[in-house]
Amino acid sequence: MHPESSNPSKECQEMFALLSQYLDEELPPETCEQIRSHISGCAPCVEFVNSLKRSIELVRNIEREEQPAPLPAAIREELKAAYKKMLSVRRGAPAGC
């Protein structure tokens, strides 16, 4: 209800928007250093960043046990034909643009 009283500090909130870029190392060095030094002294931020990092790892390692069914021979032929046709058009095309 009262954002100032029930939310994390202003500084935490500013960090909050940048955490993915921070973890992906996409921030300019100064900003990165600023966040690093804030986080090192802020327990809630440490926990939040750790759990965000862990979530990203989980997504990255999401188990992809599902494999496509073997490609039917007829489809393979169709693909190959499309490829060959593309090649012949390309070869027949006049040189240059």
Partner: protein, 209 residues
Amino acid sequence: MVSASLEVELARDLLAGKEEAFDRFVETFRTKIFQYSYLMCGHREDAEEVSQETLLRVFESFGQLREPERVKSWVFRIARNACLMKRRKSVFAPAQELSLEQFLPRADHEGGEIRLQIADWSALPDTQVLRGELRQVLNQAIAELPEIYRSVMLLRDVEELTTDETAEVLEVSTEVVKTRLHRARLAVRQKLDDYLRPAPREEAPAARK
């Protein structure tokens, strides 16, 4: 730049008319496209169809691939469009924006102290994750993301495309990719947190003033 990736070399060979690259290209990309579209569409049959349709489009228009270095983003763009053509209402709910504020750590008041409610489950071992319920929760969390966020997360975090490549696939700016990726991750983190956080001891009457 280091040596070109397998995909890029295969694309170069194909463009050069080296037909022996055909089978490897098909196998490499078919699995990728299938897994991506399975997570995008949520239906096995759709994913099978999307991967065949995508490959057909790819071979038909291979001559239009001007830069083989961009083969991955080019193929994924075709795959994504094929996914969108299959859109099913349940999976592609109307675009909905996720705001940053909704993912701010919640605070509660404990003896006058503001305490952030964040459970430290980051040390959770993989073995516990990979089996059973939590995997469901994770898959569900991704499936429930609005499409504009889900597609960014799948390309960046699952397929491990770069920010630039993802921007190319989705035809948006890199800033948009970064913003959406962050919100997608926050949303997934939130779902995992809801699931993993121990239930609060008791619901204290809101003593805020």
